[in-house]
């Protein structure tokens, strides 16, 4: 175990040991348990009740819009924090302040668009 790639060998060995433990447990289980399947035993377990309907169900993904809108604020914050630490320093000043508000206005345009399109109301 020398050099840069040698250190990765430790990781690989660790993975191998982990895989051996999990695989060994399953193998031991299989070797020891009895195996007598019936159709009832092979159905999906649903709290002991007979399963109803299909495995595929359609669900209404309602949160993705809020995930998008969150990105608007996240991008805001990413630029606001570093700006806040320097804007009062020497040589910056009102122009810097104004530039940030221009940037915020651009971001706010996205929010205004979402609001106008009725995205913000909870259905």
């Amino acid at each position: 175990m020398h050099g840069y790639y040698g250190t990765y060998l430790t990781v690989v060995v660790l993975f191998a040991i982990g895989a051996a433990i999990v695989g060994g447990a399953f193998l031991a289980n299989r070797a020891l348990r009895p195996h007598r399947p019936t159709p009832e035993k092979l159905t999906t377990y649903e709290c002991g009740v007979d399963p109803v309907g299909e495995g595929w169900a359609q669900s209404y993904v309602r949160y993705y819009v809020f995930a998008y809108l969150y990105v608007v604020f996240a991008v805001d914050a990413v630029f606001l924090f570093p700006w806040a630490t320097v804007f009062s320093a020497k040589g910056y000043g009102y122009v810097t302040l104004g530039e940030m508000f221009v940037f915020l206005a651009f971001i706010a345009a996205g929010l205004a668009y979402a609001w106008k399109k009725g995205v913000l109301g909870w259905v």
């Binding site: 040589g91 345009a109 205004a112 668009y113 106008k116 399109k117």
Partner: protein
């Protein structure tokens, strides 16, 4: 350190950016569709008018950090930039005019459509002006991302969704490849500004030479996607066919002009010390692109698909001068490439304008073009002229000259084999352009098409451009020669 911004330099891009947001807001707050289309055209004209004011300026400059370095700027509005931005803006105006009729017919959301279009145009403008790898990649993405949405905008159309998905997947893969290439180049040179990359590449440590070469080849891949060069071409026909036709016109002209501007900049300003590596690569790409594009164009029966494959083939011609690599001074081949892109933009946008207008009457199949020039002398003759330009025959002097310029550059670049392949390809091209043009005049009953006011203006603008450049080609040739340092 405070960076001052040269607002005059970025004025054209700024106008387009502000207009894109304004258009989106105006639509959300209930402005009529006509006003939105008008605002878009006005902003594009305004940006074109603002071009001379920014000329010769540069901004977003970084001071030298090491000995022997100069100030490097990320945004430079030199002659090259202004020429390409002018081409992009003029083609974009025609595209917006063409979109006018498409809005109602395909029930496209007006505000979103114009917003996305302006955002993509902004990307193309920046691509011609960016002088560092990060700016260029961001511009490339700004050009690509809105286009996926534009293609998919006809939401209940299966072909449109399929086209958008294809475009998206190819684009994402090529972006990833490009970013990997750029990371290799950065690793070797430690610089992002193109002039510093070039300085770094002139003395690369022996072990790192293959890494630099691989980085350059991978970086070029992303631009290859934008211009539909061969390994990244197969999205073109499906996307052109599935998207609204003005968007197809945008892809084949504006987006392609932007891609070529970026590719030219990266190769000359950044990667010229490795001309021996990328020169032959460009030669092979060029030969494969033009041959495949032309052979497949031969078999098309649909007008839009034919234009798609022919525009793949045209990309091959534009790439040909680059095969010179280190043998030719960049000046010569860049002039040829810039001139060809400008001329190609005019003639191809014209052909697309007529095809878009005709498609409104259900004329999409090549057979249904039979007799178009008899039923509609105006648009029929215009289409015939554009096709002759594309084929490179008189009276389409423009196309002929563009071909001659490219041939001269290829032969001068010691890539004689490429010139031979190009000659064969030009003959193949003649066949399908001419059979199409001949159909226009053949006996047959093509339906009457109504161009409408906006469509008529769009065709007239393109035709005026084509006639002026055919009569006085030195306008473009001089501009291209001037534009190249």
């Amino acid at each position: 350190m405070i960076q001052s911004i040269g607002y005059l330099a970025i004025l054209p891009a700024l106008i387009v950016a502000v207009a894109s947001v304004a258009v989106l807001m105006a639509d959300a707050f209930g402005a009529p569709a006509k006003a939105i289309g008008g605002l878009t055209v006005v902003s594009l004209v305004g940006a074109a008018v603002a071009l001379p004011f920014g000329h010769g300026r540069s901004t977003f400059c970084a001071a030298a950090t090491r000995a022997g370095e100069h100030v490097s700027c990320s945004y430079v509005a030199d002659d090259f930039t202004v020429l390409f931005q002018a081409v992009v803006l003029l083609a974009a105006i025609v595209v917006v005019l063409l979109s006018h009729g498409e809005m109602r017919r395909s029930a496209l959301p007006v505000g979103e459509y114009h917003f996305l279009l302006l955002a993509a145009i902004l990307g193309a403008l920046l691509l011609a002006a960016g002088r560092d790898l990060i700016t260029l990649v961001v511009a490339l993405e700004t050009l690509s991302l809105p286009v996926f949405a534009l293609v998919a905008l006809r939401r209940y159309d299966g072909t449109a969704s399929e086209a958008a998905l294809k475009l998206f997947l190819v684009s994402v893969v090529s972006s990833a490849v490009t970013l990997f290439g750029i990371s290799l180049v950065y690793g070797v040179t430690g610089a992002m500004h193109l002039d510093r990359v070039a300085a770094g590449l002139t003395h690369v440590h022996g072990d790192l030479r293959p890494v630099a070469a691989a980085g350059i080849a991978l970086t070029v891949a992303g631009f290859g996607f934008k211009i539909a060069a061969v390994p990244f071409h197969f999205w073109a026909p499906d996307v052109y066919q599935g998207s609204p036709l003005p968007v197809a016109a945008f892809l084949s002209v504006v987006s392609k002009a932007g891609g070529f501007a970026g590719l030219t900049l990266v190769l000359t300003a950044g990667f010229w010390p490795y001309g021996n590596t990328w020169g032959p690569l460009m030669g092979v790409l060029s030969a494969a692109t033009m041959t495949l594009g032309n052979l497949l164009a031969l078999r098309q029966t649909d007008a839009v698909r034919l234009l798609a494959w022919s525009s793949v083939a045209q990309s091959g011609y534009i790439l040909a001068p680059m095969a010179g690599g280190a043998h030719v001074r960049p000046h010569q081949w860049m002039t040829a490439t810039a001139a060809y892109v400008a001329m190609y933009a005019i003639m191809n946008i014209g052909a697309f304008a007529v095809v878009t207008v005709a498609a409104r009457r259900g004329i999409r199949d090549l057979e249904s073009y039979r007799g178009l020039a008899r039923a509609n002398p105006g648009s029929g003759l215009a289409l015939a002229f554009f096709l002759l330009c594309l084929a490179g025959l008189p009276p389409g002097i423009m196309g002929l000259l563009a071909k001659v310029v490219v041939f001269r550059a290829a032969v001068g670049g010691a890539a004689t084999w490429l010139a031979v392949i190009m000659a064969v390809n030009t003959v193949i091209g003649l066949y399908y352009y001419l059979t199409w043009a001949a159909r226009l005049f053949a006996a047959g009953e093509a339906r009457r098409v109504r161009a409408g006011r906006a469509g008529g203006v769009a065709i007239a603008v393109a035709l005026a451009g084509a006639v002026v450049v055919s009569a006085a080609p030195e306008l473009v040739l001089h501009a291209a020669a001037l534009a190249v340092p």
